[in-house]
Amino acid sequence: MSFHHSNDKLLSLASAAALVSDGALVALGGGLSSRLPMALVREMVRQGRRGLHVVGSAHGIDVDLLVAAGSIAVCEESYVGFEQDLGLAPAFRRAAETATIEVRESCCATILAQLRAAEFGLPFMAVRGVRGSDIRGLHPEYGEVTCPFTGETLVAVPPLRPDVALIHAPLGDRRGNLHLDQPYVLDERFAASSRNVVASVDRLVGSEEVDRAGITIPAHLVAAVSEVPYGAHPSSCYPGYAYDRPHLATYVAAATAGGEDLADYLATFVAGVDEEGYRAAVGAARLAALSRWSESTADWKAVFA
């Protein structure tokens, strides 16, 4: 976790994704269908990454796609799915039900406590809750600690120090300064607790512009940055673009059907193309439509129709 002093961390997407090794403990930035590091996820699939242990809060297509591609061994997220709208995560569900991945389901607040232990340089953190939940049983690595003042017993959790945090930002500079809009979800905590931050940005700009927008994650925490327009698609990255609900529906249908359909999706949008090809496959018109949210409430509603 020591600081990154280089003044030029700009890498190609391939070189950036290559900083994630097979079997790495990987923190995925963003949450649900917002600011997911999809370009980095797709590139890891192209590179045939295997045996990843992913951690995070509530996620969706990022985790499901990695599971569909066979890249994940252990999943320690607090939620994987598509909410009420598109339902369960098909590949994740299938892999869990056939025990082809290990699901160490966790809780957002517990993950926060474990990241804080790493960030604060402490060997453990205490949490309330968890007791009384069967989630406790999924985590033999948890312990107990007794408060020296009140005598109460709390659950103790070990530090969580990801090998790499994958974070997508709308804006960044080549030194590694990143600007994010709220909600940051766990990205600030991931950045401070992980050994390396590997970032993708929709737009690489000068330091002055990141400074004006506000630096959310400072360069000294970032190991590499890669410029990928629409790098969070099909999740949202405001103010640039809303999430692509029809695309998520297409993916969910393909992943639910599995077999040919899933293979076709992967060939068309991941394995068979680079990111330029991905944007072409999605279509310039569709991408443009996702940026039209700001024009009027009607336009914004239309994006979700």
Binding site: A99, R128, G129
Partner: protein, 276 residues
Amino acid sequence: MSFTIDEWFVVALARTIRDRETVFHGFGSPCAQVAMHVARRTHARDMLLVEGATYAVNPDPPFIPPTGNDLVLAQGSTYQMRFEEFFDAAVRGDVDRMFLSGVQIDPHGSTNVTAVGPVSAPKVKLGGGGGGCNLAATVGHLTLWTTRHRSGRTLVETCDFVTDMGHRTREGSRAELGFTGGGPEWLVTELGVFDFDLDGHARLRQLFPDVSLEVVRAATGFPLRVAGDLRPVPPPGAAELAALRGIDPLGVRRSEFSPTDLRRTFEAPTGVPCPC
């Protein structure tokens, strides 16, 4: 004035909120999400509404989108909490109420959103609990809800997996576990409204008028406890329906209901006063 079950159901959820409470809903909870905005626009104008996964404080979104983490949900808010800022507030006791649902719900209000069947090789792997497992321990009160009571698979004697604890589990009561939150206060289903008695056991308090006690009993997987003063669910007021239709033009709330239930429509008895 006519309305549908999804509208009435959401108003029933909204009425579990007291004014000046700090209230939160998780993601994937359109009914609770809409209900919070209805409450803030009617009887709970001074509540502090924390908008789901955006953690926006008292926003006025033009509509509710199909995802719980979208910029539109923060519109009109002057402040967005950080993720950790919200969780810390909830753990130290500054959040008064949270809405929580479950694919399985037991008589003491424990919920399962993790897995149906054995967790090691589930029959159905569900999405997971998000932050509920810690929040359920410390938030002041919980309003539980389900729109699938009728299925007979939701209100069960025992959850296959307890994601979020209610009033007690085999590990003991909340007091025994040192939990600071009050636990489940209400359970609202598409058939009726339950509170929790002194044993922390669900008790039917109100019935929707098109539902019979027998239907509820048949759909409930544990011995049904019924309050002495069982009443019909009070109908929604005009202001509540107007607020609801205003905040949810896309009708995301309906995604929680079965097609059959969505056909349930009602006529407001004229001259019912709106509680707001």
